[in-house]
Point group: C2
C-alpha cells in the first residue's frame, strides 16, 4: 500500500547509472536556480522607495543612484561567485570556501546560516505566494495556512520526483516571468521615448533637506534584498551537466544579466512614472497599470508575478539538500542526508526542508513577513564570509593577476559586511534571534561531529592484530510452556551447542510444578530451570538468571539468549498477546553483552 | 523517570502473597460497590414524577404505588442475586449465569452489555458530578470537559493504587450520603407526624381521567433506573474477604435495605410535600429545602449528593476489570486483561475503562445525558438474562424448594424484560445504537476467541512424538566494513559453526574493490560475498542472497542471519545512524523462516 502510493507520487526507482540524465542543462538550471533571485525584482525597487519616502517624495530620485549601487554590488557578487565556481568546481559556495580558507568554525557558521536561511526561504516564499492567491480570491483567506502547506507539499513531492522533472515543470513560469517583465520594461521605455509619460518625479539632483547618510545606507541595504538567491548557482555545481563549472559560470552570468536588466529597468520606470510606494498596490503593479492600463497584459503580469514569488521556494529545494549532503560528508550532519533516494535526489534533505518550513508556516499561521529581515541577514552573513574566504585564498595562492581578484572580493566583502551590520542595527528587534539560533546550530554541528569521531574511534580495528577468536557457547531459552515454538527453538539451540538451559518463570508453586512435570514427560534433552516471581514480572527473574550465567561463563563462553516467538499473520493480532518477548529483547539489547537470537515461528492462520 | 512517577502515583509494587490484604471487608465493600446503586436515590423518584406529570398534577399520587412496585422489584432482584451469589461463589453475575445455563452467545451478550455499560456509567457519572460542581461554581462551566477528565484520571489512579486504598477514601462520602438522606427522611417523617406539613398533594385514589396503562408502565420503568448498580456485588465476589459469598450476600442485603428505605422514604416525602418536578431544582433539593430551609443542613445534603453522583463511577471501576478478567480467562478478551498490575489490581482493565470513558466524555463534550436511557437498557438486558439463566438452573438441578426460587426469578425476569421492552419502545431514538454496538461487541468477542483457538491449535505439540532435532548451521553476517563490531560478530559466528558467510553490499565497483582488498588484508577466516546494488538498497540484495542460501541448505541446515550492531549510549544518537540493520531485522522477522541474531556492541562514549 505505502509503497504503491510512493510509486504514484514519486515515480519508479532509478538506477545509480541514471544519475547523469538527472543533471541540468544551462537553461533548466537557470529556471531551477534563479527563481529566488529573479523573483526579488518584484519587490526590490519597492524596498528602496519605502525607505526613501521617510524623507518625503522629493527624495525618491535617490532610488536611481541607489539602484545603480545595487547593480554594482550585483556585478561584484556575480564576478566574485564566478571566481568561486572556477576555484571550487565541486560546488559549495560559502560553506566550502570558508572551510577551506577560514577554518571549521567559520565554515559551519556560513553553512548553518545558509541551511536555516533555506528553510526561511521556503516558509516566506510559500506564504508570499499564498498571499498573492488570496489577494485574487479573498474568500480563500481563512484557508491560507492550508494553501501554503499544500504548496510546500507539492514542491516537496516534485523535488522528490527528481531535479530534471521539477525543472521541466518550473521552467515555464520562470521564463514567462522574465518575458513579461522584459516586455513591460521595453514598452515603458518606448512609451517614455515617444513622450508618452508626463515627467512626474523630482529631477535628479534635487536637494532634499533631511536625507541622511544613514537613510541612504538603509535604503541601499533594503534594495540589496533583491540580491538574495544569487549564491544558489555556486552551491549547486554538482547538479550541472558536464562541464559543470563552465555551465554553472555561464548560467550565473545569464542570471546576473537578466536580474540586473530587470532590476534597473523597474527602478527607471518607477522613477519616470513618479511612483510612490503604496501598501495596497505594489510598485510593479503600478508600473504595469500605467503602461498597459488594467487589461489582459496587466493581469497576466500580476498572475505570473504571484507564481514566481511562490516558486522562489524551489531554489531552496535545490540548494538545501546539496549543502546538507556536504555537511553530512564532513560529519557535521547526520549520515542520512548523504543517502540518495529512489529518484537519485537527496530525499532526506528535501523532506527535512519541507517538514521544517511547514512547521514554520504553521506556527506563524502564515504571517511570515516578520521573518524577511532575518532571512536577509541569513543570506548576507555567508556572502560576507565567502568573500573574505576568497580574499585569503588569493593572498595565499597568489595566482596571476590576483590583485584584481582580491580587490573585487574586498569590495564585495566590505559592502556585504556593511549591509549585514545595517540590517542588524536598523532591524535588531526582528533579527536578534539570529544570535540564538546560529550558536545553537553550530553547537549541534559540533556535537554531531564529535559523536561520529568518537564512534569511529571506538570501532576502529587494528587490521594486523585483531582477528576473530573462537569461544564456547551457552544458550539460554526462556520458555512459557511446551509448544511447537519452544520445540523449534530448542532444535536450533541443540544444533548449536550442548550447553542449552531452558528457563521458566512461574507466579505460583502450582504452575511451576505443572511445568516441571510436563517437561519431564516431554524430555527434550534440555535442562529446565524454574524461577518463581513474587512480583508477577517475567523480565526481572530472567535478567537475574542471565546475570548468573554470564558471571559463571563469561571467560569461556558466548552467552546467547534465544527467544522463541510466534509471528501472527496480521499485526493487529499482536494486541491479543502479551509482548514479554519484545520487552525482554529490548532490555537485553540495551543493557547486556549477550547475543539475542529470535527463532520466528510463523503462524499460518 | 517514568518508573519513578509510577511509584509516586501508584505506590510500591506488591507481592502475590499480599493479595488477601487487598480484599474487602463488608463495610468497605458496601462503600465501593453500592455507590452506583445508592446514588440512584438522588434521581429515582424524580424520574417517576416527571412521567406522571404528563397526566397533570393530580396524577402524582400514583408515584406511591409505583414506588412500592419498584421496591417490590428491588426486593425480588436482591433475593435473586442472593441466590446467584450462593450458586456462583466464584462471582460473575449475569455473564457467568448466562454462560452456565444459556450458552455462549447469551453469556457474551450479557457480558458485552455490562462491559459497555460500565464505560457508560463512568462517562455519565463523571459528567453528572461535574454538573453538580459547575452548578455551585458557574464560572467553571466552560472547563467542564477538563474537570470530568481530571475526575476520571483521579478515579483511575486511585483504583490503580489498589482496591482497599480506594475503598478507605471512598467510604466516607458514601456513608455521609446515607446518613444525610436518612436524617432527611426521619426529620421529614417527624415533621409530617407532628402536623408540620400542609397536605398539598392529591389524595391517594383520586381518579385521573387521562392516566393510561402505558403511562404507568413508563413511569415504573423510569423509576427502575434507581435499580441500576445492584448487580455490582454479585460480580465482585472474588474481591471479598473470606468467606466471600457469605460476606457478599450480607453486603447485598444491607445495600438492598438501605436503598429500599431511602427510595421509599424520598418518594413518601415527595408525595407529602406535594412536590412537582422542576427542571431547575431537583426533588431531593426541594424536600431538603422544605424540611430544613436553606441552611447548613440543606447545603450539606446538596454537596454530599453531588459527591455521591460522581463516586457512582467507582462501582464500575470495581466491576469492569473483574468482568474483563473473566471474559479474558474464557479467551473472549485479550490476555492482557488477566495480568495483575503492581498493586494486584487488573491494571489493564482499569486503564481501558478510564481511557474509553474519557473518550466518550470528550466526544460528547460532557453532555452525556442522552446516554442515560442507553445505559439503563444496558443494565436491564443482563438483568433479564441473569434471571432467565437462574430459572433454567432451578429446572435443571431441582434443589430442595426450587419452585419458590424459580417463581422469584420468573417474576424478576418478566419484570426486567418488560422494563427493557418499555425502554426500547418509549425511547427508541435514544437507545437504537444498542442494536449496533452489541452485535459489534459480540463479533469482536467471537473473533478474539477464534484467534486464540487457532493459535493454540497451531502451537499444540504431541508430547510423545515431537522432540527437538539437530541440524547443521549456516550463518550469514551482513557487514558494512571492517570494524570492531564486525570482528565481534565473526568471533561469535565462527564459534558456532564453520559455515560462515559475510555479505557486503556496495553501490559502485570502487567501494566493492576497496572492501575486498581490505578483507583480504584482514583475512578473518571467513568468506566474503560482495553484492552490487543498482538501486542503492542494502536490504533487497541481502534478502535475495539469503533466499539463495536458504534454498541451498534448507534441508540440512538452520540458516541464521547474524546482524552486527553497535548500541549508542543515548537513544537520540540513533538519529545519526542509518537504521539498515533494524530495517533488515524487521523484514526478516516478518517474512522468513531464518533465525535472526544480534551481537550488540555497546559504545562507551
Amino acid at each position: 500500500m505505502v509503497s504503491k502510493l510512493k510509486r504514484v507520487l514519486i515515480g519508479r526507482p532509478m538506477k545509480n547509472a541514471e544519475i547523469e540524465g538527472e543533471k541540468l542543462s544551462k537553461l533548466k538550471a537557470l529556471a531551477v536556480l534563479s527563481s529566488d533571485a529573479l523573483s526579488s525584482v518584484a519587490y526590490g525597487t519597492e524596498q528602496i522607495l519605502i525607505v526613501l519616502m521617510a524623507a518625503g517624495f522629493t527624495a525618491v530620485w535617490y532610488s536611481l543612484p541607489i539602484s545603480l549601487a545595487v547593480l554594482g554590488l550585483l556585478f561584484i557578487l556575480i564576478l566574485s561567485y564566478r571566481q568561486t565556481i572556477f576555484a571550487y568546481p565541486g560546488g559549495g559556495g560559502a560553506y566550502i570556501v570558508a572551510m577551506d580558507n577560514l577554518g571549521t568554525s567559520t565554515g559551519l557558521l556560513a553553512g548553518g546560516s545558509l541551511l536555516v536561511d533555506y528553510i526561511l526561504t521556503v516558509a516566506v516564499s510559500s506564504s508570499a505566494g499564498t498571499d498573492a492567491i488570496t489577494s485574487a480570491f479573498p474568500s480563500l483567506h481563512e484557508h491560507r495556512v492550508a494553501i501554503a502547506l499544500i504548496m510546500i507539499t507539492v514542491l516537496t513531492i516534485m523535488n522528490l520526483r527528481g531535479v530534471t522533472e521539477s525543472a521541466s515543470v518550473l521552467a515555464i513560469p520562470v521564463y514567462l516571468f522574465v518575458i513579461a517583465i522584459v516586455i513591460l520594461i521595453l514598452s515603458g521605455i518606448v512609451k517614455a521615448l515617444t513622450g508618452g509619460i508626463d515627467a512626474a518625479a523630482p529631477a535628479i539632483g534635487t536637494s532634499v533637506s533631511n536625507v541622511s547618510l544613514f537613510l541612504l545606507l538603509k535604503a541601499f541595504s533594503s534594495g540589496c534584498s533583491a540580491l538574495t538567491g544569487v549564491e544558489a548557482v555556486s552551491n549547486a555545481i554538482p547538479n550541472f551537466r558536464k562541464p559543470a563549472e563552465r555551465n554553472a559560470a555561464a548560467t550565473l552570468m545569464m542570471m546576473g544579466g537578466i536580474l540586473g536588466f530587470m532590476f534597473i529597468g523597474i527602478s527607471l520606470l518607477a522613477y519616470w512614472y513618479g511612483i510612490a510606494p503604496d501598501p495596497k498596490v505594489t510598485v510593479v503593479s503600478q508600473i504595469a497599470e500605467s503602461t498597459f492600463g488594467r487589461g489582459v497584459l496587466y493581469y497576466s503580469i500580476q498572475g505570473i508575478t504571484a507564481l514566481i514569488l511562490f516558486l522562489a521556494a524551489n531554489t531552496a529545494y535545490s540548494a538545501f539538500p546539496l549543502l546538507a549532503f556536504m555537511l553530512a560528508k564532513d560529519k557535521y550532519m547526520p549520515h542520512a542526508f548523504m543517502v540518495r533516494g529512489d529518484r537519485l535526489g537527496f530525499s532526506n534533505g528535501i523532506i527535512f526542508l519541507g517538514v521544517f518550513s511547514a512547521i514554520l508556516v504553521a506556527s506563524f499561521k502564515g504571517n511570515t513577513e516578520n521573518l524577511i529581515p532575518l532571512y536577509a541577514v541569513g543570506v548576507f552573513i555567508p556572502f560576507t564570509i565567502s568573500q573574505l574566504g576568497m580574499m585569503l585564498r588569493w593572498l595565499r595562492l597568489k595566482p596571476q593577476g590576483y590583485a584584481v581578484k582580491f580587490v573585487i572580493n574586498m569590495i564585495g566583502m566590505l559592502t556585504t559586511l556593511s549591509i549585514t551590520l545595517i540590517f542588524i542595527i536598523t532591524k535588531f528587534s526582528q533579527v536578534w534571534t539570529v544570535f540564538l539560533f546560529l550558536p545553537a546550530v553550530m553547537y549541534i554541528f559540533h556535537s554531531i561531529n564529535s559523536h561520529y569521531m568518537n564512534i569511529a574511534d571506538q570501532l576502529r580495528i587494528d587490521i594486523k592484530t585483531e582477528k576473530p577468536c573462537i569461544k564456547g557457547n551457552t544458550i539460554v531459552v526462556p520458555v512459557a510452556g511446551v509448544t511447537r515454538v519452544v520445540k523449534q527453538s530448542l532444535s536450533y539451540a541443540k544444533s548449536m551447542t550442548d550447553n542449552v538451559i531452558a528457563v521458566y518463570v512461574g507466579f505460583d508453586d502450582e504452575s511451576i510444578e505443572r511445568m516441571e512435570a510436563k517437561w519431564e514427560e516431554w524430555s527434550p534433552g534440555v535442562r529446565l530451570v524454574t524461577l518463581r516471581s513474587s512480583y508477577r514480572s517475567i523480565i526481572r527473574p530472567v535478567l537475574k538468571f542471565i546475570d548468573t550465567v554470564e558471571w559463571k561463563t563469561a571467560e569461556t563462553d558466548h552467552v546467547t539468549v534465544l527467544i522463541p516467538q510466534f509471528i501472527t499473520r496480521h499485526w493487529w493480532h499482536n494486541f491479543l498477546h502479551n509482548q514479554s518477548s519484545l520487552l525482554l529483547r529490548a532490555y537485553l539489547y540495551n543493557r547486556k553483552d549477550v547475543v539475542i537470537a529470535t527463532v520466528p515461528y510463523h503462524l499460518q492462520r
